[in-house]
């Protein structure tokens, strides 16, 4: 048994490392099959940057279908996104083709389904172009009506309807060679790339570009079902680009590897495992399971770090540039901070919170990714690496620390009612929360003020009272409140935990809530899923606080009452005045 205990952590970490290596290995294709991998590596220009066709395919399929792979129907095998794009380009206009019959358009809204006279498909919710086909005029009519209404007056049906028409448009653009810009400019200037349709027109007007022919031949070989010719043409075209676009190709190849490896997905799975191990450790085998959880979290955080660096390399930007990247960055920061806490306290709590926060933030990030390319180009005002690296990174770390403190608070309350709080744990947990709140105070204050200085640099005003700025200020005030309340003896351990949980609610407001108001310079647009998600999060946190406010009699912890004074701290007022 002892030997088992000693080897358990290493077995877990080793197996997971093996799994990661396997996920990294490229798939091999036989020479008589279409080499989708090679086709995915071809560079295109889309959304203002050079990216591999694979990324274009995945992000568009993600928009349409909420997945990066597709299938003919619910029971059919998964196929790569790049195949969907190639098929759309070669036979997308034909209603009898396989791609037109592939169920990819996700429609969940029952009103839209009845408008299109489609039957709900629970658990799948995806429909093919052929099925929607003859109802498109109805759809377009409705969309015109919605277009005329004020965006603030639109209901769920309107919003989803517009989404669907945009998704169909996106497919049509691919099928009719309007998207992406597939034809590389021969002079190496990104501004001169063309979509295939455009390039064919240009060729007819006498502006020939050898790349147009090459791409057309690749598509023709695909359409005619000649894999060997297709593979050869793809390789030839790529070789011909090497001279002008060598540096871009290196990056796009790397991006394809990144897409294939799906590091954030792998991390999410592993964080889930960390959480399971940490929870199991409370039942038995405490020491070895905790060790396993800790080292596995360590391994995962290495992959997580690598993935963040990889994104920075591809984009040439600091880690946080949009909501998606802030989510993966917050997850990373939370896990790292928890591992530091675990290293100091070695009580398994750090592991559990690392697992929860890592998993939760990556799931949130996955949902945020559904809105398109996560490596999008920056709006003019955000086009500054200096401020992205300082203000944005620091304020995001401030969110991170506030969340960690909040989840430690949740752990405190849940352990309190679950009879798991010993004297020792009360002490260490409140120390942990206190320390993390101090850290959060430092980061959120500095980050907020740096944001003000950025605003001073670009708009001429240090503080504009914009919703997002106010949100950041509320986090700072809340952290200051917690610290002063504790220094003043107004709260003790349990109060600290409760206020830290409320800090989660405040951070949630600042992070997602302020964007939903639809006003101000930082408004990235209303997102219904986010609003609902936030409401649920607030509900959960509020419930924790309510539990935390229950009279101590309801807390079953045996030795707690003596240690835990009630929230009101009337008699402690003495402390604030010199006696």
């Amino acid at each position: 048994m002892k030997g088992f205990a000693r080897f358990l952590p290493w077995c877990v970490v080793g197996l997971c490392a093996l799994h990661l290596v396997q996920a990294m290995l490229p798939e091999r294709t036989a020479s008589d099959k279409f080499n989708y991998d090679a086709a995915g590596r071809l560079p295109v220009v889309d959304g203002g940057r050079v990216k591999p066709l694979d990324t274009f395919a995945r992000t568009n399929l993600m928009l349409v279908s909420s997945r990066q792979t597709y299938a003919q129907n619910m029971d059919a095998p998964k196929q790569p996104a790049i195949k969907w794009v190639l098929e759309a380009m070669t036979s997308g206009n034909n209603e009898e083709s396989a791609v037109a019959k592939a169920e990819v358009f996700r429609i969940e809204n029952d009103q839209i389904l009845s408008l299109l006279e489609l039957k709900p498909r629970p658990q799948w919710w995806r429909y093919s172009l052929a099925e929607i086909g003859d109802k498109i005029p109805v759809l377009v009519n409705e969309a015109k009506r919605v277009d005329r209404t004020d965006p603030k007056q639109r209901d769920q049906f309107d919003v989803r309807l517009l989404d669907l028409t945009q998704h169909l448009q996106l497919y049509v653009n691919i099928a009719q060679y309007r998207d992406p810009m597939l034809i590389a400019a021969s002079d190496g200037d990104v501004n001169h790339w063309m979509a295939l349709g455009q390039a064919i027109e240009a060729a007819q007007n006498g502006q020939s570009n050898p790349n147009t022919r090459a791409v057309a031949e690749i598509l023709l070989a695909y359409k005619q079902g000649k894999p060997e010719e297709f593979n050869r043409k793809v390789a030839d075209y790529r070789d011909s680009l090497e001279k002008v676009y060598g540096a871009d190709l290196k990056k796009t190849d790397f991006e394809v590897f990144f897409n294939h490896f799906e590091p954030f997905y792998q991390c999410a799975v592993l964080y889930g495992l960390v959480l399971v191990l940490a929870c199991l450790s409370w039942i038995g085998f405490s020491e070895p399971l905790n060790k396993a959880a800790f080292w596995l979290a360590g391994l995962t955080v290495i992959v997580h770090t690598w993935a963040l660096i990889a994104r920075m390399y591809i984009q040439g930007r600091p880690p946080v540039t949009n909501l998606y990247s802030s989510a993966v960055f917050i997850g990373w920061g939370c896990v790292l901070l928890c591992l530091v806490l675990e290293r100091i306290y070695r009580n398994g709590l750090g592991n559990a919170v690392a697992g929860v926060t890592g998993l939760a933030t990556l799931i949130i990030a996955h949902h945020l990714a559904a809105s398109g390319d996560t490596l999008e180009m920056m709006q003019a005002v955000l086009d500054t690496n200096f401020w992205l690296a300082t203000h944005v990174t620091i304020i995001t770390l401030g969110y991170t620390a506030t969340f960690v403190a909040g989840f430690l608070g949740v752990a405190y309350i849940l352990m309190g009612v679950a009879n798991a709080l010993t004297r020792d744990r009360i002490k260490t947990l409140s120390q942990m929360i206190y320390g993390v709140v101090c850290f959060a105070m430092l980061l959120s204050f500095t980050g907020t003020v740096l944001g003000g200085i950025w605003a001073d640099q670009s708009w001429g005003r240090f503080w504009g009272w914009d919703p997002k700025e106010n949100g950041a200020l509320m986090i700072v005030i809340w952290n200051a409140l917690i610290l002063h309340a504790r220094w003043g003896g107004m709260i003790k351990q349990r109060g600290l935990a409760n206020l830290a949980i409320a800090g989660n609610m405040v951070t949630g407001w600042s992070y997602f809530g302020t964007n939903q108001l639809g006003v101000g310079l930082h408004a990235y647009g209303f997102n219904n899923t986010l609003a609902t998600g936030l409401t649920i999060f607030w509900g959960l946190m509020g419930a924790c606080i309510l539990i935390g406010l229950l009279p101590l009699g309801c807390w079953r912890t045996p030795d707690a009452p003596a240690k835990m004074p009630v929230l009101t701290g009337r008699k402690k007022e003495v402390l604030t005045t010199p006696s």
Binding site: V45, D46, G47, G48, R49, P151, M181, W193, M377, Q379, A380, D383, T384, Q431, G435, C438, M441, L442, F445, T446, V449, I453, D456, Q457, S458, W459, G460, R461, F462, W463, G464, W465, P467, N470, M474, I477, L481, H484, A485, W487, G488, G489, M490, Q493, G513, Q516, L517, G518, V519, G520, A531, L534, T535, W538, K572, L575, T576, T577, P578, S579
Partner: protein, 429 residues
């Protein structure tokens, strides 16, 4: 404040403070300061400020940012409408959109809470001042915060914002303040462009009639429209107040002012009907329609002389001119997403013998003679640029404050962390 800090290692200790100094009688000043210095007060002020910031954020769904700032943060008291919280519920908790609640409740404004926090902070330091390593961080943090609060005060009171809209190839020597309007009377025979007499619209609104030695005639306000439609052809049914000038043919109609929530950030375009009377005898010369819609001033003949009269944004003339050489609006290939806005300008200042070309772009302003020029916007069709011109005597204060507070926090929390880690090391050993 430090006295009450609960040592991180053992919270229970804090309940029994160890008296370090022998008891002595409090002075009257101390009697006053001690309650003001209470940490309990600090915490409650934080709660109130927290709520004010939250309400001030929600208010921006109903009012413009500027209105919200003036009502909530740059005020002593504010009436907060209940409807704001209904709106909040509509966004996050699925309240029916038809719900509407009237009425409001009074609350403390930003000036009041800010001053209260400042007093509380200063009192705390006065009563418990002690210079030591332990307290140095706290001292730095709090002095940095004082600098920041004063900085916001200076900005609120003294900062001046204006704009310069310049077409390519043109140069101008004035800054406009869009929120202030004036009626300008220009004597075209004057030597310089600045030979102008202006009457602030506010003044005219307050007095009704304005008479001044510098004015060649008296002005009487008939009607002022903060926001108006583009003047249209007048018909026989219209009651047209105007009897002279462009207004004889056209009529302006008042429309509601735009709120800050206007998604296109469009601005109000004002119009006014003004009666002009001969100086001294009060003979009415006619009623004119003056409007920001008109790009050129209207000629008005008085006493054998013709003056150009216009309603326009308040202008402040500068000793230098700024000419726009080129405005660039770059987008990412294949998208409408702006990549950069930049203005290549020529700055000419004869009084300082300056004549140079400068590029102003997003995140890269020009600072000159105490003013800062930012790339703010552009004229439709990319034919010109709009620069934001800000004079803020307090602009440096947040920079200082940020550095001081951050350093203070690192010092304070760092010392605590080191002590804590040391304690753990000794107990573990």
């Amino acid at each position: 404040m430090e006295k009450t800090v609960v040592p991180t290692s053992g919270p229970a200790v804090a309940v029994t403070p160890t008296p370090t100094a022998p008891r002595r009688k409090r002075s009257a000043l101390e009697n006053l300061l001690v309650p003001l210095a209470s940490l309990r007060l600090t915490v409650w002020l934080f709660v109130l400020s927290f709520f004010l910031v939250f309400a001030g954020t929600l208010a921006q769904t109903e009012f413009s940012i500027q209105q919200a700032v003036d009502q909530y943060f740059r005020s002593f008291f504010v009436w907060i409408p209940w409807q704001l919280f209904v709106r909040f519920g509509q966004i996050f908790f699925g309240f029916p959109t038809s719900w509407s609640v009237s009425g409001s409740f009074p609350f403390f404004g930003g000036w009041l809470l800010g001053s209260a926090l400042l007093v509380n902070l200063l009192a705390a330091h006065l009563t418990r001042f002690k210079l030591s390593w332990q307290r140095s961080g706290i001292l730095l943090i709090h002095s940095g915060l004082v600098v920041m609060m004063l900085g916001e005060l200076v900005t609120g009171l003294y900062a001046i914002e204006g704009r310069m809209a310049i077409r390519e190839g043109e140069s101008i020597n004035y800054v406009e303040q869009f929120d202030k309007l004036e009626i300008a009377v220009v004597d075209p025979s004057g030597k310089t462009e600045e030979d102008v007499t202006v009457v602030p619209v506010k003044l005219l609104q307050r007095r009704g009639t304005v008479t001044h030695p510098d004015l060649p005639f008296d002005l009487e306000l008939v009607q002022f429209m903060p926001n108006s439609n583009e003047p249209r052809k007048a018909t026989a049914e219209d009651k047209n107040p105007a009897t002279a000038g462009l207004g004889k043919e056209e009529i302006a109609v008042e429309v509601p002012s735009r709120s800050g929530a206007d998604p296109n950030q469009r601005m109000d375009i004002a119009s006014a009907y003004v009666t002009i009377k001969e100086k001294g005898n009060g003979n009415v010369l006619g009623t004119w329609l003056l409007s920001q819609w008109y790009s050129r001033p209207q000629p008005i003949a008085v006493g054998g002389k013709t003056y150009d009269v216009a309603l326009r944004s308040k202008r402040t003339y500068k000793p230098y001119t700024i000419g726009l050489i080129d405005f660039k609006h770059e987008v990412y290939p294949g998208t409408n997403k702006p990549k950069n806005f930049s203005s290549e300008i020529r700055l000419v200042d004869p009084s300082r013998e300056r004549d140079r070309t400068v590029k102003i772009s997003m995140n890269d302003p020009l600072r000159y003679r105490g003013e800062t020029f930012y790339q703010a916007s552009f004229l439709e069709g990319d034919i010109g640029t709009v620069l934001q011109v800000v004079r803020n005597p307090g602009w440096l204060m947040p920079y200082i404050s940020c550095a001081v507070v951050t350093f203070g926090m690192i010092l304070h929390f760092g010392l605590h962390l080191l002590r804590f880690l040391n304690q753990r090391a000794t107990t573990a050993a």
